[in-house]
Every structure is written in structure tokens, then in C-alpha cells.
């Protein structure tokens, strides 16, 4: 039955959803497909996914999409034009720069910050959490105390102090946010590890002579991945907000970089008369971080059906 219908669309679906997968690959693909179906059934999550895909596309093709340069403005002829002006869909800022073009180029900065923080924090949290959970004893206590200390810190304030010491700039903002963001992942990974540590399959692998390193890397970490992905996606929204907050305070990306938070800060002076200068970048931040929240919620429901019932 499974081989017969691979050709047609209906057959692929049946093959994927087969109760009796013939190969490991079919089982894996089938599971991924089932997860996707659960995800796609959530309309809001799909909207969120569309937002994120759009963000990636806009960031990639910024050079093609942007109608004007993000840096060069027309000081004489196009200062503080309102939205829907000819040639400037979202208006221009105080230096005559096209706001839409700056937003488009700014998406690169936002995406870069989010990716950098995710790459820096998720593996660290995963490693600390799984090692602490698997090793137990004094290693566990020591690692978790350190985690708790960082967890006890208010994120934004710690990031502020760090950037104050390191000096403003987008790299330092990323470092500061990364230092403040890893502890929840460690806590979560530890909890997951404790749940599987005494499972039979772990004992079986240990009896076969696997080293602790191998057990943690190959057999414990994969169990933590799905909840880690959900958590990281949900945290991305908060990270965008903190990065924008740092930018707003002048501690993130420095001018003339088209960072959205910094753009709001520069538009603040004109808020009473030229409201769009500060409003547009804020909309962009809101939309993107909403996208991450929606996808995160959808992923959580899709990956953990038990939670979804709530």
C-alpha cells in the first residue's frame, strides 16, 4: 500500500501518515508531517510563520527591495515628508532619508541580532543543563547556583550595565543580551534531563558501554531539543524588544545604522508634529516580535499535544 501511491499527492499523504512505516526515514518524515499538520491547523501560527518568512526574504533582498538608500537623504527637498508622499511610501525622517528603505535595511540588523543571540545562548544553555542534570551531585549544585544567580538578575538592567562597561555598539549589545539570556535554557534542559536520566533506554545504552559524553550528546540532548526550540522562538520576541530598547537608549547600533529602536529614538524629537518618524519603526518591531510569539505558541502546541489541550 505504501509503495503503490507515492506518485499522486493523495498517496504521498497516505504514505506519510502510514501507521506502519516501512523505514526509519518514513517514520521520521511522517512524524514531521504530523507536526506540521498540527501547526498548520493553527491559523495564527501560520500568520506568524508568514511574517518570519517575509522578514528573512526582506533582509536577504534588501538591496533589491529598498527604493532608496538607507543612509543618503535629500536634506533640501525631502525632509520629514508624511507617509504616502510620492516616492516615499512611509515618509521620510529628519535627514530626508526614506523610512521604508531604512526599515528594510534595518530588518538585517534585527535578524542578525536574533540569530547571533540564538546561536550563542541555546548551545550553552543546553550544555550546562544536560551536564548538570546528568552528572548530578556537586556539579549539578554548582552549575545551577550560577544559573540561578543569572536568572535572578533583571535582564534589561544587566544588559544595560554590561553595555555601559563594554561600550555601546551592536556587537556588545548582542554579547550583553546573550549573557543574560542563557539561564532559562539551562534550567529547562536540566529538567528534561532529569526526566530521562533514569529511563530504561539510557541504562541500556550505558550497559552497551557508551561514555557519559556520548550519552549526553547523542541520547539526552535530542530529548531536550523540541522544548528548547519552542522556548528559543518565544524568547526571540523578548530579545528583539531588549535589543530595540538598548537601541532606543543609544546603546545598541550606532547612527547612522538603520536599527529600529534607534530610529524610534531619533523620531522622538518630532513625535508631536511628525508622528510617523517614530511610529513606523515601532510597527515593524511589533509585527516581527508578534511573528515570533505566534510561531512559538504554534510550535509549542504542535510539538507538545498535551499542553495544547489546555
Amino acid at each position: 500500500m505504501s509503495e503503490a501511491g507515492i506518485g499522486s499527492g493523495q498517496g504521498t499523504r497516505a504514505w506519510l501518515l502510514s501507521e506502519y512505516p516501512a523505514s526509519r526515514m518514513q517514520a521520521r518524515l511522517g512524524r514531521a508531517y504530523a507536526t506540521w499538520l498540527r501547526f498548520a491547523a493553527n491559523r495564527l501560527a501560520v500568520v506568524g510563520l508568514a511574517i518570519l518568512i517575509a522578514l528573512v526574504l526582506v533582509a536577504t533582498f534588501a538591496g533589491v527591495l529598498a527604493p532608496h538608500s538607507p543612509y543618503a537623504g535629500d536634506l533640501a527637498g525631502a525632509r520629514l515628508l508624511p507617509p504616502l508622499s510620492p516616492g516615499h511610501l512611509l515618509g521620510t525622517d529628519d535627514q530626508g532619508r526614506d523610512i521604508l528603505s531604512r526599515l528594510i535595511y534595518g530588518s538585517r540588523l534585527t535578524l542578525a541580532v536574533v540569530l547571533m543571540v540564538a546561536v550563542l545562548t541555546a548551545p550553552v544553555g543546553l550544555l550546562v543543563g544536560t551536564v548538570a542534570g546528568y552528572a548530578g551531585g556537586i556539579i549539578d549544585t554548582a552549575l545551577m547556583r550560577v544559573t540561578d544567580i543569572f536568572l535572578a538578575f533583571p535582564k534589561l538592567v544587566l544588559a544595560l550595565a554590561l553595555v555601559a562597561a563594554l561600550g555601546p555598539g551592536i556587537e556588545n549589545a548582542v554579547i550583553a543580551i546573550a549573557i543574560t539570556s542563557w539561564p532559562p535554557y539551562a534550567r529547562m534542559a536540566r529538567a528534561e534531563t532529569l526526566a530521562v536520566r533514569h529511563a530504561d533506554y539510557i541504562d541500556a545504552i550505558r550497559l552497551m558501554g557508551a561514555s557519559p559524553l556520548r550519552i549526553v550528546l547523542r541520547h539526552v540532548m535530542p530529548m531536550c531539543l523540541s522544548s528548547l526550540i519552542v522556548r528559543v522562538t518565544l524568547d526571540m520576541a523578548g530579545i528583539i524588544l531588549i535589543a530595540a530598547g538598548l537601541g532606543f537608549l543609544g546603546l545598541g547600533a550606532q547612527p547612522p545604522a538603520p536599527e529600529w529602536g534607534a530610529m524610534i529614538a531619533s523620531g522622538r524629537r518630532f513625535i508631536l508634529d511628525q508622528w510617523w518618524v517614530a511610529t513606523m519603526p515601532g510597527m515593524a518591531i511589533l509585527i516581527v516580535s508578534l511573528g515570533f510569539n505566534l510561531v512559538g505558541d504554534g510550535l509549542r502546541d504542535a510539538l507538545d499535544p498535551r499542553e495544547a489541550e489546555r
Binding site: A152, F153, K155, L156, A161, A164, F248, G282, F292, R310
Partner: protein, 357 residues
């Protein structure tokens, strides 16, 4: 077996254990508190002393003569080994000495004592608004699960999670202050009252009401309501979401079925039975959201020129006043940790299930 019986049977077998157990728990708790605070100090010490290439340079600038550099280095204790510096730092911090602010030339601790009540007042009113609206909304969403109401509450929460607070603050200022003229701005109190009104506690709203200065109270209210509502919205997003989840959990329990079978009214079941049980974890959530508001106030205060700790920190940041920044960070961090521990303790006191263990 009731707890008293359990305790009695334990006393019978091991009298010493009964005495020791709470004491041991207390010691453990104290150790956790101590290490957490020490860790906090270690982090701020690291930020202030280790990351900058030369703290002396930060104080004197790079044009100072070498002799002056040497003297300041000794005054700051920077020629000592790092661990001695840390011990010195901890001793100073514990006695409330965070150095002097370069910007205001006051002791940082005095500055903080002056500005902190403004932040407390703002965060408290914000939490009150967030709890007052968030809990009923969450209950409503849980009861009418899947309905339009539920969806609306969900969207309100989602937007609250996703919107940059400083941006929303700017827009609300534009609408409610500039266009509609409903609220007052900037700061905590109008110029007309600023010098005639003396606040004893630093909490202007309470003081004005206490002294019966209705005009002042109204003016203070017009100043505080917008920033407090904004902070309130953020805690509402969090509180309503958690309330919904706790309530769904309770509404699925058997005692709800029993209450229905008894013929109790639905309102009584929801508000008296289910919410009462959901209230225990909710206390923790509300405490956490209060701690988060202390932090959220940094950006809000900057927009509203609210003379609190957040504005103090950002002003100091802009002027490279590290002592003030780290002192403020330490105070917010310590308050944050304190509230976390307190909510932990409250949870244990309120939830009878944790007594049995």
C-alpha cells in the same frame, strides 16, 4: 493523616528531627539567599572593575599626570590583588556605600534613596492595574474557553508580549497628552505644586491623599496614570495568560464537578471555589510581574521623564557615571531577588500541600 498527627508520630520516633528539620531548612534558605546576593555582587564587581581596561582612566581621563593616576589607583584599592578588591567591594556594598556619583556629586546611595520611591509608586500602581484587570480577564477567558472573548483576551496578551514599551509610551503620550490633553506631563507633579508640596514618604499620591491636599492629589494622579497604565498593560498581558491557564487547570478538577452536583451557582463555583485554588500560584505570578515592572520602568521612566531609579540609571549611563549605574543595577537586582524569594516563601505559606512535606 492530618499534618498534626504526622508531626506527632514523627516526634515520637525522632524528637531531634522535629527540631532540626525547620532549622536546617532555614539554614539552607539563608545559604541560598547569601550565595545569590554574593553572586549579584560578583557580577556587578566584574562589570565595574574587570571589564573596563583601566577604571582610573574612567575617573581621571587620559590627560592626567602619572602621579595623580598612581594616587587614585591606590585610593580605589586597585593595586591590591583582585580577591582583596572584591572583599573590600562587598564590605562597602553591604554598608550601602556605592561610591559617589560623578554626575550629581552626591553619594550614590543618597541619590537612590531619593529616586527609588518614585519607581516603587509607579510599579505598585502598575501592578494594581494589571492585577485588577488581568485576573478577571483571565478568568473570563478560561470560563468561555474558545469563544470570541477568549480570542480577544489572547490577542490583548499577545500584543502586550510583543510591543516595545517605549514606543507604546511615546504614542500614548502623543494621543493622551498632546492631542487630547487628558493627562499631565512630564514628571510626577506639576510646577505649581512642586515646591509647596512636601512628601514625607516619597510616595506622592499617598502623601497628598493623607494630607488631604485634593488638588495636589488630582495633579499627581494625572501625572502617574499614563505611565502606570502602560506598565499595568504589560503585567496584564502576563497575569491574564497565567490566570487563564491556572483556571483551566482548576475547572477540570473533580471538586468542581462535585460543587456543580451540589447545585451551587456557576458564579460561586468560579469565583469562590476555582479562583481560590488558582490564587496560590497566582500570588507568585503577581510577585514576579511586580519584579518585572521594576525593570520595565527603566524604559518607561525615560520616556515620561519620571524621576525614578530607571531614569537615574539611564541618565548616568549617558554620562558614563559607572558608580551610579552599578549602584542602581545592584539595588534593582537585590529588589528583584528579594521579591523572588518572598514569592517563594509566600507560596509555601499559602499552599497547604507544601506543609505536609
Amino acid at each position: 493523616m492530618s499534618p498534626t498527627v504526622a508531626a506527632a508520630s514523627r516526634t515520637g520516633s525522632r524528637p531531634a528531627a522535629r527540631l532540626w528539620r525547620p532549622l536546617l531548612g532555614l539554614i539552607r534558605f539563608a545559604a541560598v539567599v547569601a550565595t545569590t546576593f554574593l553572586g549579584l555582587l560578583a557580577v556587578t564587581f566584574f562589570i565595574g572593575r574587570v571589564i573596563p581596561v583601566d577604571p582610573v582612566l574612567a575617573v581621571l581621563g587620559d590627560r592626567a599626570p602619572a602621579s595623580a593616576m598612581e594616587r587614585v589607583r591606590e585610593e580605589m584599592g586597585l593595586n591590591l590583588p583582585l580577591w582583596q578588591q572584591f572583599v573590600l567591594y562587598v564590605r562597602q556594598a553591604l554598608s550601602g556605600d556605592f561610591g559617589t556619583s560623578v554626575l550629581t556629586t552626591n553619594a550614590v546611595m543618597d541619590d537612590i534613596r531619593r529616586v527609588f520611591p518614585a519607581t516603587i509608586e509607579l510599579a505598585t500602581l502598575g501592578t494594581l492595574i494589571g492585577t485588577g484587570l488581568g485576573v478577571p480577564l483571565g478568568v473570563l477567558a478560561a470560563v468561555k474557553r474558545g469563544s470570541l472573548t477568549d480570542q480577544i483576551v489572547r490577542v490583548i496578551g499577545l500584543v502586550g508580549y510583543s510591543v516595545p514599551i517605549f514606543w507604546l509610551a511615546l504614542l500614548s503620550l502623543l494621543i493622551f497628552y498632546a492631542r487630547l490633553g487628558w493627562v499631565a506631563y512630564p514628571g510626577r507633579i506639576g510646577v505649581a505644586f512642586e515646591y509647596s508640596f512636601t512628601s514625607t514618604t516619597g510616595l506622592y499620591l499617598l502623601d497628598a491623599l493623607w494630607q488631604g491636599e485634593w488638588e495636589v492629589a488630582w495633579d499627581v494622579f494625572r501625572h502617574i496614570i499614563l505611565p502606570a497604565s502602560l506598565l499595568g498593560y504589560f503585567s496584564l498581558a502576563y497575569i491574564s495568560r497565567m490566570t487563564r491557564s491556572f483556571m483551566l487547570n482548576e475547572l477540570g478538577q473533580e471538586y468542581i464537578v462535585a460543587a456543580r452536583a451540589k447545585g451551587l451557582s456557576e458564579a460561586r463555583i468560579i469565583w469562590c471555589h476555582a479562583l481560590r485554588n488558582a490564587a496560590v500560584p497566582l500570588v507568585t505570578v503577581i510577585a514576579l510581574s511586580y519584579a518585572n515592572l521594576l525593570e520595565g520602568s527603566v524604559l518607561t521612566e525615560t520616556v515620561f521623564s519620571w524621576p525614578g531609579l530607571g531614569l537615574y540609571i539611564t541618565n548616568s549611563l549617558q554620562n558614563a557615571d559607572m558608580n551610579a549605574v552599578l549602584g542602581g543595577t545592584l539595588v534593582i537586582g537585590a529588589t528583584f531577588i528579594g521579591i523572588n524569594l518572598l514569592s517563594d516563601l509566600l507560596y509555601r505559606l499559602l499552599d497547604p500541600r507544601t506543609h505536609a512535606r
